[in-house]
Structures are given as structure tokens and as C-alpha cells.
């Protein structure tokens, strides 16, 4: 599971480079995310635009990262593809996360 993180001021943007978060990769995802979010920041944005598929284990892993952030920081998600969006919506987890259609203005790479 490859994650690339980048600090933009008070925000850590984490991009998942793999194309799925499934049962085979969920624990690795969780562990890598926990390492990255140890670094303090006001906001954490997870760019999921490469993820074409997420199963319930993957969803559970994203939820556990959200909980690991504690009560003040909230996990923001960006770039949910069709299948990923469907899983979040059906399980009503779309109401738990702040979801951006694309990376918020100013967090996008130039070019």
C-alpha cells in the first residue's frame, strides 16, 4: 500500500497511490495512515481519487483512521470514485466524513 503525504500549511494531504483498499490491504493502509497522522496538523485530507474499489474492510480502516485522529481533527475525504461513493452512501458513512468532490482549492498540484 503506497501512500504519499504532503504538508500544505496546516493541512496534511495524503494520496493513496494504490487502486483499491480491500481486505488484503486494509491493515497496511491503517498502519501507514496512523504513522502519517502522528504529525500534528489542523486538518487531514485523504485523496481517494485513485481508489476504484473499497470493500467493508477498507471502509472499516478509513473509519478507524478517523477515530485515531481524536475528537478535534476530522478526516476529510476527496475524489471518491463511483464504487467508493456507493459504499460510503449505502452504509451512511457519507454523513460522518467531510467529503470534497475534488481536492479543495489551493491543495491541488500545479499542472
Amino acid at each position: 500500500m503506497k501512500l504519499v503525504s504532503e504538508r500544505r500549511g496546516e493541512i496534511i494531504v495524503i494520496r493513496v497511490m494504490d487502486d483499491r483498499i480491500d481486505a488484503a490491504g486494509a491493515i497496511q493502509f491503517k498502519d501507514r495512515m496512523r504513522e502519517i497522522i502522528e504529525e500534528p496538523s489542523a486538518r487531514v485530507v485523504l485523496d481517494m481519487s485513485n481508489i476504484g474499489f473499497l470493500d467493508s474492510s477498507g471502509l472499516g480502516a478509513v473509519v478507524s483512521v478517523m477515530k485515531a485522529l481524536g475528537p478535534i481533527r476530522r478526516l476529510e475525504l476527496s475524489g471518491l470514485t463511483t464504487t467508493v461513493e456507493k459504499v460510503f452512501r449505502l452504509t451512511r458513512m457519507d454523513s460522518v466524513f467531510l467529503i470534497h468532490k475534488t481536492l479543495p482549492e489551493g491543495l491541488r498540484h500545479a499542472g
Binding site: A23, D55, S56, G60, V63, T82, V96
Partner: protein
């Protein structure tokens, strides 16, 4: 020169079949195989996405629960029946609880530290499939369900 003749009889394109080992990476590869089969090319994009979710949940559950104590094989057969995708899945693992497949009810709590990290699997299977049936035959679990093949694109 021998006449070249293929001994391998390909399955008709109206059936997709596979047998995989009970591990998560085999499930990942198996899903890729099924999703790219000729049979599945008959599904709309949205039905294909739904099928991947349901099949993944079913197969992962078998790996995690039926084969929790010992490894084994999982057989998957897909075919069309009455314009729906019929899915028949068998394994030789532990039986399901007497009451059958879990009800898959979502947790009520959607806040703070009580947020559920699991229990989504059967909810997704039951929400997205129809005609779900389970029976134990000898030492085999047989799970069947059907999936829509022609879901229209969802309006965002």
C-alpha cells in the same frame, strides 16, 4: 506434424467459474478474473461495480469465518438467469450459525468513538443482492443470490 487440437474445452461464455484458495490475495485476483470475464461484459458499469462489492464481501466472509480455523477452496459460478446474474458460491469451511446468514443491520451510532469499524459486509450483501439463500449440504456451504445486470448509472 500433428494436427493441432486444443484439448481444453472452453466454458461457454454464459458461465463464469473459478476455484480459489481461502486467502485475501486470492480473493483479490479472483475478483479481477471474474470482473474481466466475457460473461460479466454483459453487465452495465453500475451493475459491475455492485457485483464487485457483493462478491468481495461474500468471498472475504468465507475466508474470515468459514475458513477461520483451517484453509480450503472456494468455488464461484456465475450465470445469467432471467436477465439477472445468478451467483452460486460454495466452500467446505465451518457452517454458518444455525440462524443462517447474519441480518446485517447497520449500527445506529454514527458519532465519535462509537463509530462502527465493521459489520458493513452483510448489510452491503443484503442491500445489493436478491434471492439470498444458504444451505449446508454435508460438509459444504452453499450460498446463492442474484444481482441486477442492468442498473442504470446513478445520478450524483
Amino acid at each position: 506434424m500433428r494436427a493441432k487440437r486444443c484439448a481444453h474445452v472452453p466454458l461457454p461464455p454464459d458461465i463464469a467459474h473459478m476455484v480459489i484458495d481461502s486467502d485475501m490475495l486470492a480473493v483479490r485476483d479472483g475478483l479481477h478474473y471474474l470482473l474481466s470475464s466475457e460473461l460479466m461484459s454483459g453487465l452495465t458499469k453500475d451493475s459491475l461495480s455492485t457485483a464487485e462489492v457483493v462478491l468481495a464481501e461474500v468471498l472475504n466472509n468465507i475466508v474470515e469465518h468459514a475458513y477461520a480455523l483451517f484453509p480450503g477452496k472456494i468455488a464461484v459460478s456465475l450465470s445469467f438467469r432471467d436477465d439477472r446474474l445468478q451467483c452460486d458460491i460454495s466452500d467446505a469451511g465451518l457452517p454458518m450459525p444455525a440462524a443462517g446468514p447474519p441480518a446485517g443491520i447497520l449500527h445506529e451510532t454514527l458519532e465519535g468513538t462509537d463509530l462502527p469499524e465493521g459489520g458493513f459486509g452483510w448489510f452491503l450483501i443484503r442491500s445489493l443482492s436478491r434471492d439470498l439463500s444458504y444451505r449446508r449440504q454435508g460438509s459444504t456451504n452453499l450460498l446463492s443470490f442474484s444481482l441486477s445486470a442492468n442498473d442504470p448509472p446513478e445520478i450524483a
